[in-house]
Amino acid sequence: MPSVKKFLLVKQQRLTNDVFQMDLQAAAPLVGYLPGRFVMVAIPNGLQQLRRPLAIAAVDEAAGKLSLIYRVVGQGTAQLAALTTGEQLSILGALGNGFATQKLVSGDRVLLVGGGTGLPPLMYLARFLAQKGCSVTTMVGFRTQTQIFGTQVFAAAGKLQLATDDGSAGIQGNVGTLLAAFNATDCQQVFACGPLGLLKAVQQRFAKQTMPVELSLESRMGCGMGACAGCMVSVGGGTLNQHICQEGPIFSAAEVQL
């Protein structure tokens, strides 16, 4: 059941030039904050009518702690970045279906593929799966070295494969380069989150494989609650028949039309 709660901003941290992390504290434990699910954050200013969807980057449900990692791209995220410790945020969550991790068991090999602001949910997922005992390989691509964030988390959770467009860190190339070199035969499940191009590359790369491949989608959202039909996507041959906010944001690569 989603709920709307006040969270206290306990830490605001700049990870790169335009990526920030907010550590937040709720007054009570959190329930249902699973990897791949998201929250809708109200911009604390009368002008913005819509909440902003942000993935759960880290959570300690029992302690009521939540971390969000966001890139400043427009007016809403700019205002979030301007908040200082001690301010309060109204957050609606947790929403969406989350990654299907139920069938994974210790020892399973999984691949995570991410880029840009697709990384935050994968950071949570990597930690979550590592704790389950899965063997986690993560492929991440950045434009250049100064844009890197989150890689310690992936390295700590398993194997990290890093690419930068300019070769300033990791191999020169992008996630596509890494995917081409990947041996898919011994991998139980794939999870991807990032720009449309990345999702398409993942969908294509594993089109002939049989393991589940899960893609986390983005959309402009009105409600985040399945009420406004603002976020539809075509799944399983239907046309705009599912809500990214409700049946998603995670869809099977075999089913979803990108």
């Binding site: 913005q48 609606l92 009420a227 039909a229």
Partner: protein, 316 residues
């Protein structure tokens, strides 16, 4: 105050005997089958207005469908719905099963008079809806929708066609994108409308500076939210001065004061759309706030306020 809290909030409109005047606006609450319904009991609502129904299923407009502007939201959903038959077979029975006492208003859209009438007939025959809201004001579809709502002759004709087949009262939902809202309201009245619902969204647009193209795939979209409230108040005030029909008011309502302002403008009930996106608990909140706000402004009951406002309007 001598009246009970329930009596203070109750309002009565054709076909609608409401314990309070507050309902979700069409398109902002699906068919009640959304996650807000997990957060509060929909039985608290005065009524529910469901998403537009059309004769055939509609997939709506391509994505993106939502954009933000200062003080408001643009949407170009485009009347996506599973069609009246699925609504009758699945959506409405589910809603009625969960909330048997909750009054239901079905929003009806179409591309021509005959669709409107047939959709309306099926809905009203079902026994599952208490009233119809005739959507002649959707700005997000190429055909039908707003074109009926911007021409008095068509507005009257489609209203009459629907009235002929409907067993339940018909509220005509007006478009604000017109030169003379009173003329359209009068046309709806002449067509036999039992009430009016106003306002639908204003036609707006936002461009993406990077692509130099509209943010919405549809190009234009409907503007809703606080930005349009003063326009809604003006139109409701103007119409209630010339047309005797009860009005369900909407457009930028986000708190109990806004609701009272709508009543003072001439409303008999209200709907809230965009505000729920910001505040998922806006419905229980405004319903709880109303009695105190009414006391603050010396309003004993809403039905009394309606009568007072209407009696002061000079019919000329």
């Amino acid at each position: 105050m001598s009246q009970t809290s329930e009596q203070r909030l109750a309002v009565k409109l054709p076909g609608l005997n409401l314990k309070n005047p507050v309902m979700p606006a069409s398109g902002c609450f699906a068919f009640g089958d959304n996650r807000y319904a997990e957060m509060f009991d929909l039985n608290q609502l005065g009524a529910i207005i469901i998403k537009a129904a059309t004769l055939e299923p509609r997939v709506g407009n391509p994505m993106p469908r939502i954009a933000e502007v200062p003080g408001g939201v643009l949407n170009a959903v485009g009347l996506q719905n599973p069609g009246v038959d699925v609504i009758l077979k699945e959506k409405l029975p589910q809603l009625k099963a969960k909330y048997p006492e909750l009054p239901v208003i079905a929003n009806v859209a179409g591309t021509q008079e005959a669709d409107y009438a047939e959709t309306a007939r099926r809905l009203s025959d079902s026994g599952m809806v208490d009233a119809l809201e005739l959507n002649i004001s959707c700005p997000n579809v190429k055909q039908g929708g707003m074109q009926f709502g911007t021409d008095p002759v068509s507005a009257q004709a489609v209203t009459a066609a629907v009235k002929k087949v409907s067993r339940v009262p018909v509220y005509v939902k007006l478009s604000p994108n017109v030169t003379d809202i009173v003329a359209i309201a009068q046309a709806a009245a002449a067509g036999g409308a039992d009430g009016l619902s106003m306002i639908n969204t204003l036609l707006g647009m936002r461009l993406d500076l990077k692509t130099r193209q509209p943010v919405l795939a549809n190009g234009t979209g409907g503007l809703s939210g606080p930005a349009i409230k003063s326009i809604a108040v003006r139109m409701i005030y103007q119409v209630s001065q010339k047309v005797d029909l009860p009005i369900i008011a909407m457009g930028g309502i986000s708190n109990a004061e806004d609701i009272l302002e709508m009543f003072m403008a001439g409303a008999s009930a209200v709907a809230i759309g965009t505000a729920i996106f910001h505040d998922p608990l806006v419905f229980p909140k405004v319903i709880a706030d109303l009695p105190q706000k009414m006391t603050d402004f010396n309003i004993e009951s809403l039905s009394g306020l309606i009568a007072e406002v209407r009696s002061q309007r000079n019919e000329n």
